[in-house]
């Protein structure tokens, strides 16, 4: 019904890549989740055309694809920004300041949950905002995700600065990952097409190393296998 520019037909290359994803698996339907990621990469959201294409390739019904597309929260039925900002408001992050960050960003961007901020004069990129559930980075709370890259230990101020930098087109890097790519580019990685950014960012962030650093300081390690009993299981 809508004729959004992003909702045009999938091109031949995308169709070929959808088939390629399905072929990775013993049974093609297993490819559906990554295929829908690719649809989002190609079209900016889950479109009826994308659902049709997946259904046709996998020889299942469009209703079945629709059922899957509406089950998983990463699939968007309306467009998101070039940078999709997710603020963790699960209990721990919320308590640690996630609620305040989310509120500040809503006020600053003048939008509600799961909305795209207006593109102002001079903005080269768009930003959307969503509150998200625990993203497995609790030791970096409060956590913000941008296009599913970690932005650790945020404050309302740092978050506002970050979205401003993104909107005007400055490079922003994940606190323990690469320079941020666009949401559609990230979706392509999730579809299983690497983008060459794997070697950016550190091995681990600061919090991840908390215990290891103490162990190094104190000379602690796992038992030396050459000293530990070799064959017999310990009898307690």
């Amino acid at each position: 019904m809508s004729n959004q520019p992003s909702a045009n037909q999938l091109d031949d290359k995308t169709i070929a890549e959808l088939r390629e994803i399905a072929a990775r698996y013993p049974e093609p339907r297993s490819g559906l989740l990554p295929m829908l990621h690719l649809v989002q990469s190609a079209q900016g959201r889950i479109t009826p055309e994308g659902i049709e294409a997946c259904a046709a390739i996998l020889e299942i019904s469009a209703a079945e694809v629709n059922g899957v597309a509406t089950f998983y929260t990463m699939y968007k039925r309306h467009g998101v920004g070039d940078y999709h900002v997710g603020v963790c408001t699960n209990t721990l992050c919320a308590v640690m300041g996630g609620d305040a960050i989310f509120q500040r960003l809503k006020d600053h961007l003048e939008i509600g949950n799961d909305e795209v901020a207006a593109q102002r004069q001079g903005d080269s990129r768009t930003v959307s905002l969503e509150h998200i559930e625990c993203n497995a980075a609790c030791d970096y709370a409060p956590v913000v995700m941008v296009n599913w890259e970690f932005m650790d230990n945020q404050t309302p101020e740092s978050a506002v600065q970050m979205v401003e930098a993104l909107r005007v087109g400055h490079d922003v890097s994940s606190t323990r990952g690469p320079k941020l790519c666009t949401w559609r580019e990230a979706e392509r990685v999730l579809a299983g097409f690497p983008d060459g950014r794997v070697d950016e960012g550190p091995t681990a962030g600061t919090a991840s190393l908390a215990g290891l650093e103490i162990a190094r300081e104190r000379g602690w390690s796992a038992p030396d296998p050459s000293v530990a009993p070799a064959k017999e299981p310990t009898d307690g």
Binding site: T91, E133, A136, C138
Partner: protein, 436 residues
């Protein structure tokens, strides 16, 4: 005497390029493959059984025993599926592990697949962690290029293909049968059991599903022996495990230690609860495990110890909350999480979480009476053990345990007609705000 911290899986994390094959191999990576290939698959299973390794994803089922359930007389292909859908609130160990040391996971996948005689393995990673997925994708690609994956690995005649699969946002896919549904391109709703995945899992074929940390623990067991692994930990909870401290501690982060360490010991290492505050409540293994308080500081953090104290070891996700935190607010937020993540399949979870959120929201805003607390507990009784899978059970844990420990605080909300806490005091920056 075993050291207080025993970095095995985390040991590589301070290397400069920890995710690269060269780094991993320099430290002896992939050497366990030849050890295993010199053994029969059954002997590998025996070694893992003997080590006492128990599932690191929360339930603690003995890993070797799980493998031995795979019926080898079943003519269908066998599959290994790695559960890398880490989503339990508070749990944040597998993500840094895959980011910093993905090859130990890949090596573990090869060893485990060899043991159960699978020629195809899948790593199902939650979709919301793009950089982690990049690292695992690249590790698998490097392993193929180096001959650690593919056909005739290390000349052993053993073939294995690995597919890295990105999820798309569903906590429930951490439940192993829901994960299989997701991996089969369906809605992530748990399956009826029996049949269990060991008999009819992925594509109705025998399937082992293990947590990332479980699989990543296998290379060291194969290389160093079951006894080495068993020399760490306690009698029934052997080996090392990553403990994740988060929240109101001085140094939140990952601490890899033998099972059985206590929160008191961990807090000592982490510099204690944040300056000027006291421990109020904590989760031993994520939000689905009943809350503990300061009285549980010396509970040994192993499967038996935590269970004996009325909770579950879970994923060793230690979320620390100090006295500035309103437990009603915390529990309400977790309940909203469970409501959001309920798959919708069964009535108690789908409708029960809907009700819990409304009831807690009213209590948090100071409406209601003490009778409502009892009704809330009755609702939990109607959900716990009645839902299709453990998600519904998990949703009741914070509610019942918080009322058990903090009934007075609930009542204080009612007496005051609202929440007596100032949320600003519990933020990460609350100490600095005074000077700012």
């Amino acid at each position: 005497m075993v050291d207080t911290l025993t970095p095995v899986l985390t040991d590589l994390w301070d290397a400069e390029l920890g995710w690269k094959l060269a780094t991993y191999e320099e430290r002896g990576g992939y050497a366990a493959l030849d050890v295993a290939f010199a053994m029969s698959p059954d002997d590998v299973i025996t070694a893992v059984k003997d080590s006492g390794l128990r599932g690191r994803g929360g339930a603690g089922f003995p890993t070797g025993m799980k493998w031995s359930f795979i019926p080898q007389d079943n003519p269908k292909p066998k599959y290994l599926v790695v559960n890398a859908d880490e989503s339990e609130p508070g749990t944040c160990k597998d993500i840094p592990l895959m980011m910093g040391n993905p090859h130990v996971l890949v090596e573990g996948v090869i060893l485990s697949s060899y043991a159960i005689r699978a020629n195809k393995a899948f790593i199902y990673i939650r979709g919301e962690v793009v950089h982690v997925i990049r690292r695992v994708q690249a590790a698998v690609a490097e392993a193929y290029a180096a001959g650690h994956l593919g056909s005739n690995i290390h000349g052993s005649g053993y073939d294995l293909d690995v597919v890295v699969h990105a999820g798309a946002g569903a906590y429930i896919c951490g439940e192993e049968t829901a994960l299989l549904e997701g991996l089969e391109g369906r809605r992530g709703q748990p399956r009826l059991r029996p049949p269990f995945p060991a008999v009819a899992g992925l594509y109705a074929s025998p399937t082992v599903i293990n947590n990332v940390e479980s699989i990543a623990s296998v290379p060291a067991i194969v290389k160093n022996g079951a006894a080495w692994f068993g020399s760490m930990g306690t009698e029934k909870s052997k080996g090392h495990g990553i403990f994740s401290l988060s929240g109101h501690v001085q140094k939140p982060g990952q601490y890899e230690a033998p099972l059985g360490i206590t929160l008191r010991e961990l807090l000592d290492l982490a510099g204690g609860v944040r300056e000027g505050h006291q421990l109020k409540f904590w989760t031993p293994g994520g939000s689905s495990t009943p809350l503990f308080t300061a009285e549980h500081l010396d509970v040994p953090l192993d499967f038996e110890g935590v269970a004996g104290a009325g909770s579950m070891l879970g994923t060793r996700a230690l979320q620390i909350f100090d006295e500035t935190v309103c437990v009603v607010r915390a529990v309400l937020r977790w309940s909203e999480f469970y409501k959001h993540e309920s798959c919708g399949k069964c009535t108690p979870c789908r409708e029960g979480t809907w009700w819990l959120v409304q009831a807690l929201a009213r209590l948090e805003s100071g409406q209601g009476s003490e009778e409502d607390l009892d009704q809330l507990l009755d609702q939990c009784d109607n959900i716990l053990g009645r839902a299709f899978c453990a998600l519904g059970d998990g949703a009741t844990s914070p509610v019942t345990s918080s009322i058990q420990h903090f009934r007075e605080e609930y009542l204080a909300h009612l007496e005051q007609g609202g929440c007596p806490f100032d949320p600003a005091r519990s933020t990460a920056w609350s100490g600095q705000e005074v000077s700012a």
